[in-house]
Symmetry: C3
Subunit: 311 residues, 3 copies
């Protein structure tokens, strides 16, 4: 039994808000939606507010497409439009928005835990679209969906997550989700991006990318989030990073034949990957992006309408 069961049934703040069967249900619906778009009435009369305090192109576009395809009333406010910051607490804003008839808030904010604060006060559904370095659960959902499409079960699969782990909300949400599904996770990166404390049950640390490559079934590359850190004693130069951690043609040659490569985007050509990756047969980026819209449709339907099968 999870705590906060009422709230977690209504909102997605981090991936562990979803139970195993709930995850299964959402993935089934995703697959069904990919096969055939549903009628545009699943969210009819439902008002969805996209409240992005950080810039976004891909995530807000993906959510908006998902919302419109389900027939929701969509309102998008960007950071500079909002007057939220001026004297009013987010809790009071939540009360206001619920009173107004907003049913779902999709929120991105640089402050870890901001979506949780919103969800505690908001009488409706909150979806975390990224809170600083903490979590980005819909990205993890689409990553896991993409991996499962490839492998079926993730039990005992070796997944390497490479790069700037510590600043990556995607990594945090993925580690959580993949562990729960029985995958073996190898985190790869220099100490600056990957403190030893990240090791744990089902999660090991490997400093040498070249050792991790041959044994991996899937590799999730991460973007170096220069905007989230300052240089420190353990800092690593771009040149060192490229030399030790960039995935390029030489390193691709060390992979098993079926290994696939994922990236949450946006990717920096030349930094975490070389152009070779973009034409590698196992590069799954476009599939991830495509799945993202359908996963978000399935999630919205699940949060608002519940599990239709169980009714």
């Amino acid at each position: 039994m999870r705590s906060q069961s009422l709230r977690t049934r209504r909102s997605l703040l981090d991936l562990n808000d979803l139970s195993g069967p709930e995850l299964e249900y959402i993935f089934e619906r995703t697959a069904a939606f990919e096969k055939k778009l549903p009628k545009r009435d699943m969210l009819s009369g439902i008002a969805v507010l996209n409240l992005f305090f950080e810039h976004s192109t891909r995530t807000i576009t993906s959510f908006t497409l998902a919302e419109k395809r389900l027939g929701a009333d969509v309102i998008s406010l960007s950071p500079r439009d909002t007057s939220l910051a001026k004297g009013e607490t987010i809790e009071d804003s939540a009360i206001t928005l619920a009173a107004m008839g907003v049913n779902v808030i999709v929120v991105r904010h640089s402050e870890p835990g901001f979506p949780d604060r919103l969800a505690l006060a908001f009488d409706g559904h909150v979806i975390n679209a990224g809170d600083g370095p903490r979590a980005h659960p819909t990205q993890a959902l689409l990553d896991i969906y993409t991996l499962r499409e490839e492998f079926g079960s993730l039990k005992d699969r070796n997944i390497a997550i490479v790069g700037d782990i510590v600043h990556s909300r995607v990594a945090h949400s993925n580690i959580e989700g993949l562990k729960g599904l029985g995958a073996h996770i190898t985190l790869v990166g220099p100490p600056r991006f990957l403190p030893d404390s990240f090791a744990g049950e089902g999660v090991r640390i490997e400093r040498d990318l070249d050792k991790a490559l041959p044994e991996s079934d899937a590799i999730i590359l991460l973007r170096i989030q220069r905007e989230r850190f300052s240089d420190g004693p353990q800092s690593i130069s771009d040149e060192e990073y490229v030399r030790d951690y960039r995935l390029d043609g030489q390193r691709l040659a060390k992979l098993k034949e079926q290994t696939i490569v994922l990236h949450p985007g946006p990717y920096n050509r030349g930094m975490e990957l070389a152009d070779d990756v973009l034409i590698y047969a196992g590069w799954r980026y476009a599939k991830q992006v495509r799945h993202g819209v359908y996963v978000r449709m399935a999630l919205l339907d699940f949060l608002v309408n519940g599990n239709r099968r169980s009714r």
Copy 2:
């Protein structure tokens, strides 16, 4: 007979653009919409442009929900998107937007009278969503609707408006509207926020909040609009304001049992109100916000489609 009758039938620039019977009609429709949402075709084929030159969350969200629920084509431009300011007059922009097929413009601007200038040139409907400190008629509409729901007639009811009157467009529109409906208005605040000149027929000034409390049927609290003034000789410190004018538990105890408290939002906890107010049985904030969407639906329908009863 009012002057500018043609224009005022088409636009809402200040509350006195609506006659008594028109107000009645809009409130009837509001109540009907709250009971049962209308079909989404009342504004079908109607293009509504939300043109907000000042930041807003609650007002633009409320208008957008109202517009979408009536089936309008909604376009929202925020201050930084627009190129209006560059060399072109607002009058010329109005000509352009009308030629394009925009039917309704909902406008917020820091300059008093800006919506009037727009309305004179625009061949369509203009709704003032706030012009600097001057007017905010849809907020007054929802405040009055909330008061009437509580009291039925407002004739001879005592309404206190407390705080930063001089910088408040909400106060200005409410004074106008409530006077017209026969309420007795007491304005409460220090000289810095409430010059003696505000007194007039049906409107008296009271410097001592504690005297005004026991005789009030309703209290409208206002936000201190620090952004609209600089410190002057009559300035009042936050500490003084809190001591003399903040509504808190002690002051709530002085109210009659049925007294209700309103606030246009966003409210500043600790400044014009203490947390006690938020759990006071007569606190009507959430109702105001809820009514706001339906009042705006009724207004849009009235401006575009006219009084359906009289046809």
Copy 3:
């Protein structure tokens, strides 16, 4: 046969992406749409992204109205919302947006050729809504539509384009389009705005506006784009420009009776035109703006659905 036929059939980057018969088809559809709005399902299920890196009011409003009237799913991102610039190339963004299911991108950017780069990578339709001083083909489409409505054929008509030619994407696209339809083009302006190199087949240069006026069937005035140039040796003061090139009452009197005047907007009263022009019987600005929405509808339908007649 044109080169890049596949791409040009799918996108509109400059006016010469459209053949003569394609232009005819689009204009026929425009006229049909003006007579009777089509059902709102021509773009149903089609996702259109308005990606404006430069400020815009009129163009984005016009496109949005066109898109909504055809039933598209519309997403608009303004420059500050997007994270495109951060480390990701526009080519990679194009891949992402296509994978997501975006079908059409309407793009405005200050960099000439930016829409072309986008179109090369994007598996969908790109419409150039202005790329720096280079091209603005939908403005040219609506200008030409307006001229044809007036004159029928443009063969051997004398069209004067007056003002800041060199910085005007509208001028560039119009010159191209009008030449193709057999019009005689006279470019009028001082050397600073109109280098001698602009002369060519079907295009002559005239420095003296007063000489050009009596022989012109139509005059296209341009806005002085002060934001696009710095003062140089050939610079011209506002006073000189007004004296030599502003269209005012005295100059209007030199026109033939049927001469019409166009302007892409926004116009600067007092600079390129005096208030007299706004009440001149041949002033076609409002018609241009009105046609703009229908031309964009016809274009969107053509790009997405092709020539329905030929199927």
